[in-house]
Amino acid sequence: MLVAALLGVYGVSIRLADVDPAALLEGLPRMAEWVGRSWPPDTTDLGLLLLRAAETAAIALVGTTLAAVLALVSCTMAARNLTPSAFVRLPTRWLLNTLRGIDSFVFAILFVAAVGLGPFAGVLGVALHTWGSMAKLFAESIEDLPAGPLDAVRLTGASRVKLVSYALVPDALPGLSSIGLYMLEFNVRTSTVLGIVGAGGIGLELKNSLDLLNFPRLLTVIIIILLMVTAVDQLSSRLRRRLA
């Protein structure tokens, strides 16, 4: 019964997704030809491409930091152990889920329309989506902390602000920092494509090169993206290991 249902879902999904192996077979030689034509990579615009890569990293860093500040403020209102009242907690969760449900890419399209082309639209897009994701992860991390120390400090007569800053932050900080670094890593990858919708960064050059069928330049762009993403992943995982 369950198997039949699953098979049905897959059948419908494959039809809807227009899966066509023949088209792939036809397209493969064309892609192989592009790969052949892209060698050697074109480095004439290297300075510009590196600048765009730096722009991408900057979008990720500023956007993630903005999101972290917003998430820190809102996560305590979404965590059950700090905000028992459903009247505050549930609306906070709804807001955060909405933000999380809309991708950075979609926010970026909206912000390009609102504040114009350029990296700032990307920063705002990354910040809003990441705020939702990060606050949810922060809240879950806080809910996983042992209740005992919080109860002990709460029952000394400490106010909420004192409780959070003194008893919660020290034990929660390693977990929250780790989440922040993970989101930064993730956003560097996201930011590489934001340029496609005009929200700044190296994605703009990716799209230009593809539009002009300038494959050697496209290869350079892809190599830069790979190097940057790998470097950030390495750095972040090393930092996170030290936090653990």
Partner: protein
């Protein structure tokens, strides 16, 4: 009743509580007092109402039936700031110590000052000289001056519980509630912790109300024993007079045959083989 004189640190009269959805009350008509400087052990089988009693005194449960007075203030009528002030009067010791793991021993003791200190000092971690001196003297009292800068999660269980005692000293509470304070400790550490607790209670006139599940520890360290069963006070008498009949009244079964270890030097006894055997059996 207590022999210490003066107004009681805590007065409980006719306290009752029934959890929603339950027919049998968790507590019914519970009355007792603890005088300043007095150590009272609460004994009873699991489900006897010890936890409910503690939750009423810490105001985690609203007192609906009867009266609970701490330092002359009646609980249940206080809100907001007043509730905060009343909470400062009650220091808590937990089975799992409940220290903030990544703060130092000294910072954990300073947590006892949070109810007294202005918010900006807490945010900036800049406690004034008086509070810092107080925290260090409290650590010294529990014999942990040399561990002041050590992170809490690097201390042994017994040391952590003594930091927790220093925390309630810094809080300057008139009443300390201890919920199974030595249940997670080895016999030697348990003895050391209970000696410390009784010592500070005597010196500073702090009333201690502690649940314990080991009868021999209760008779050795408490001044008085209150036996709870099915939410009722079955026994309330001096610890020295707690006998076999009282055990049956409290636990509804005879006391296991092996007698508690004879009185003697507590430090050596903690390490002795026969003591650990008796602990296993009375548990």
């Amino acid at each position: 009743m207590s022999g210490h004189g003066g107004a009681p640190a805590i007065r409980v009269r006719g306290l009752g509580h029934t959890y929603t959805g339950q027919t049998a009350p968790a507590l019914s008509d519970v009355s007792f007092e603890v005088a300043p400087g007095e150590v009272v052990a609460v004994l009873g089988p699991s489900g006897a109402g010890k936890t409910t009693l503690f939750r009423c005194v810490t105001q985690l449960i609203e007192v609906e039936q009867g009266i609970v007075e701490v330092a002359g203030r009646r609980l249940g009528e206080l809100r907001g700031r007043e509730l905060g002030f009343a909470r400062r009067e009650v220091g808590l010791i937990f089975q799992q110590f409940n220290l903030v793991r990544r703060l130092t021993a000294e910072q954990n003791v300073l947590a006892g000052r949070l109810g007294h200190v202005p918010t900006w000092r807490v945010l900036s971690r800049r406690f004034d000289q008086g509070d810092r001196a107080l925290a260090l003297s409290c650590l010294a009292r529990v014999g942990l001056s040399d561990q002041a800068g050590q992170r809490a999660d690097r201390l042994s269980g017994g040391q952590q519980q003594r930091v927790a005692i220093a925390r309630v000293l810094a809080q300057q509470s008139s009443l300390v509630l201890a919920d199974e304070p030595v249940a997670s400790l080895d016999p030697t550490s348990a003895t050391h912790v209970l000696e410390t607790l009784r010592g500070v209670a005597r010196e500073r006139g702090i009333a201690v109300l502690s649940s314990l599940h080991q009868v021999d520890l209760a008779t050795r360290f408490a001044d008085r024993i209150v036996g709870l069963r099915e939410g009722r006070v079955m026994v309330d008498r001096p610890a020295a007079a707690f006998g076999a009949a009282d055990y049956v009244l409290t636990f509804d079964r005879p006391r296991p045959a092996v007698p508690p270890p004879p009185d003697g030097d507590e430090r050596t006894r903690g390490r002795a083989v026969d003591s650990s055997t008796s602990l296993r059996i009375t548990r």
